[in-house]
């Protein structure tokens, strides 16, 4: 039995429910037991560290401190989200490297009766655990429905392999882990030079044009290489490419249709699970046609959403940064 502590992260309960469902579906076959950290909180995502270091690190370290209470034979915290992984790993690393920071964070934690000694835990991403602990051979043995003929680009995103504090990945620019795993599932893995390029992150909220260009590059290159679909390891990457693909198409007057699934969903399929158990079908860019290549029929689970008419009162106009006068008037 392989036992780990699980830090799921907020996305897993909302936008990336499919990730969590599919993860739960593959735990059994792989004999993995994930013990969720009790009372965990948000990791602060990509923004908080840019605003105020001490509260941001304290917010992250609270989760590590809670995890140490539940160690019970394992010291590995596994998280399926790249942003959470990076934040947890970063807090562990910098609390050690900068003792003054570590002391301040622990001072904050002590208010809640908690403490975290950096280095106590191993913070690892789900993909890392699957490839290096479970092992590709063990995964291969569980495959009952090989993904033969399904052309997939492995998309690892930028936060997973960089900065690689504990040297866990094969390379920082072109890591091979995801491709190796998909190959073990029988998929036709396409060499994807943009595998660690940025998906735009929260730029979709701040500067959508920037995000659209980044999303476009990823989708176009996957399409040009003949991919049927993309495989993601991060809720943020999946969300951006899935939920914003339509807007990106609209912005560039293009018509790309490039579904993106979580690698755990693909593992579930390969292990013989049905799409419904794996959260397949809820993605906005449908994977129906792509999965038809391996003879999987995705049931239509939901009607195409019709945007509801606003019934409330209108909101004030959005504040634009270049409308200086307006801004000052508001102040």
């Amino acid at each position: 039995m392989n036992k780990y502590l699980l830090y799921p992260g907020c996305s897993m309960e909302s936008s990336a429910k499919a990730y969590l469902e599919s993860l739960n579906a593959i735990l059994g076959p792989l004999d993995l037991h994930l013990d969720e950290i009790e009372d965990w909180n948000c990791c602060g995502a990509t923004e908080y560290l840019g605003i105020n270091l001490i509260p941001a690190y304290s917010l992250i370290a609270r989760n590590l401190a809670l995890a140490t209470k539940q160690m019970n034979g394992t010291r590995t915290v596994v998280t399926p989200c790249s942003a959470c992984y990076l934040n947890l790993a970063k807090a562990d690393y910098y609390m050690q490297e900068r003792p003054a920071l570590g002391a301040k964070v622990n001072e904050a934690l002590s208010a809640g009766g908690l403490e975290y000694k950096p280095g106590t835990l191993d913070v690892r991403h789900l993909l890392d655990v699957l490839v290096y602990d479970v092992g590709l051979d063990a995964i291969k043995r569980k495959v009952t429905r090989p993904l033969n003929g399904l052309k997939i680009v492995p998309y690892m995103g930028c936060m997973l392999p960089r900065p690689d504090y504990q040297h866990r990945w094969s390379d920082h620019e072109h890591p091979t882990e995801l491709g190796d795993l998909l190959r073990a599932l029988g998929a036709d893995v396409i060499d994807y030079p943009l595998t660690t390029s940025c998906c735009g992150g929260h730029m979709t909220q701040i500067a959508p044009e920037t995000a659209f260009e980044l999303i476009r590059r990823l989708v176009v290159d996957a399409y040009d290489r003949g991919a049927h679909l993309m495989a993601a390891v991060c809720p943020m990457c999946q969300l951006n490419i899935d939920a914003y693909q339509n807007e990106t198409n609209h912005y560039f007057h293009s018509h790309y249709h490039m579904p993106i699934l979580f690698f755990t969903q693909l593992m579930g399929l390969a292990f013989g699970k049905e799409p419904g158990e794996l959260g397949i079908g809820v993605e906005l860019v449908s994977s129906r046609n792509a999965l038809a290549h391996i003879g999987v029929e995705v049931p239509i689970t939901q009607e195409p959403t019709v945007r509801k008419k606003d019934e409330g009162l209108p909101m004030p106009r959005r504040l634009l940064s270049n409308h200086k006068h307006e801004k000052e008037a508001v102040k």
């Binding site: 390379d171 920082h172 620019e173 072109h174 060499d191 030079p193 943009l194 390029s197 590059r217 176009v220 290159d221 040009d224």
Partner: protein, 669 residues
Amino acid sequence: MSEKKQERVGVYVCHCGSNIAGTVDVVDLANWAAEKLKHQGVVIAREYKFMCSSPGQELIEKDIKELGLTRVVVAACSPHLHEKTFRTAAKKAGLNPYLVELASIREQVSWVHTDKAVATEKSKAVVSGAVSRVIENVPLEEIKVPINPNTLVVGGGIAGIQAALEIANAGFHVYLVEREPSIGGHMAQFDKTFPTLDCAACILTPRMVEAGTHPNITLLTWSDVVNVAGYVGNFSVTIKKKARFVKEELCTGCGICQEKCPKKVIDEVHEAGLGYRKAVYTPFAQAVPNFPVMDKENCTYFIKGTCKACEKFCPTGAIDFKQEDQLINVDVGNIILATGYDLFDARRVSNYGYGRLPNVFTSLEFERLSNAAGPTNGDIVLRDGKTTPKSVGIIHCVGSRDKNFNNYCSVICCMQGLKFAHLVHERTGATVYNFYIDMRTAYKAYDEFYQRVLEEGTLFVRGKVAEVTNAARNDREKGKLVIQVEDTLAGKQRRIPVDMVILSSGLQPRHDAREVGKMFGISCSTDGWFTEKHPKLDPVATMTEGVFIVGCAQGPKDIPSSVAQGAAASARVLDKILQREVTLEPIKASVDQEMCSGCRICNGLCPFNAITFLEDRMVTEINPALCQGCGTCVAACPAGAISGTGFSDEQIMAQIDGLLFRNLEPVEA
């Protein structure tokens, strides 16, 4: 401490111009020493502008004779600089040179302090320590050993060849050992040499032939040095001559065996992985010696037990499958290491795509590509073997000047990049881009070559390339390698699509440099290059007497510098040979075998392999000829059984007492 006869000590404080006098009150220092250390035996303390000058030395000599000094302390620079000067002066005046001590008040005081009062106080402590110490010094005699006139040169690249030829031409015997089947080294792989564009083979092969046929040179190729014992003048070296499976005395070098051998192997060494050779091969046509070697790992006979095509066709019956490795012992007086460099593995810079993107080449691959004797007969083509590139990007500083890989500059890459630009331009007419951080074209006629390449129309982009990718963003980039770079002169990001990328990879120490260094008793810098005795004034000698380093083994350098170092080291060796004997410092460690517990802690510590353990008596012994007096074992010995002449416990303790002013006369209350 037991009372001894009162020594008569002279203290000499040097101003070193303003180097010392600017920060230390030298007059006060001398007066203080004369007064406060009088009871210790200081009979005279003087200060002088330059103690190392002839009048300064004469001052000391005169005092030794006239005042009957028995000990001398010179408060001046580090002993590294002038210890010898003052010891020689003392010797001239009839005093044993080892009764002279230097108090370093320049490197350890004036150069590192600014406050004159504090610096003066500290210099008093240093002088006080030296006085207490010198009293405990004992007269020592230098050791003289005869020198074996033979020399070992390790590495048959251009630097090693040059060194071997210079010594052989002077009439002394040289053993030239080379790991590969042929001498020639990296230079034999090149097509042209910068900045004059001489054909590398045309200027190298005459030297190779000369080295191969010289009556004073014993050439041992396909051989490794496996053991080194002894010391300057008397090294005993064991060389493993790997089995060639070809009888050298019968082979005529006709090449029929290579022609008939059915097994094709990728040549990772000479062809840099870009071409093929046979399982029995000479690496290139002009190889010296020109008899082939058999690659046992790949030979069909050794794998499957049948074939022997080479044996069947050999007209002189020179093939011998039963040959075995041979161990050869040679005695030499001096050793020159010319072990060269490894090319930086460009796969490590994964954002440049080498190993992943087919049309990204390394510098050595391009050398073979452009070489008329290379796999494409000199045609510059893409990896498909036929398409001529229309645009080529040359990336400088790959693995060099990069804190992720090597911090140092690899020296040759700028000129190499310019040479490639010229060759591509001349032979294909392609558009050539050079991506550089800084253009470094020092030395004779180098910058003129840069001007020439500029005038030829090569485009230069100043900026470190971020990545080389095949992920096209538009039609212009489709099917190309896109170089993403910040053009720091234009102040903007650029994406430049090209057909071929050449990585001007840096130079690295040999992968086994540290083990080789340990075998020869020399050290490596943090980067891994062999460390010279002095970076400016003694660049080819090492801290181990009789072992010299030349060429890229010492650090990245171009062909002219490698040749100059080869010649320089040979001059140093010839100087030693012609002296017939070598004088060794008597500063040595010795083991009191009564006290040695046989714990062997010191055994692995000696950097000069001077310590041997006598199994029968379970005690350790130090070879005085090998010992360089570093003191590591003295400090390490838990039983206090090892003592160093010149660094005895008495001397050290007395010096510490002096430094702490415990030697001053108690002030009467």
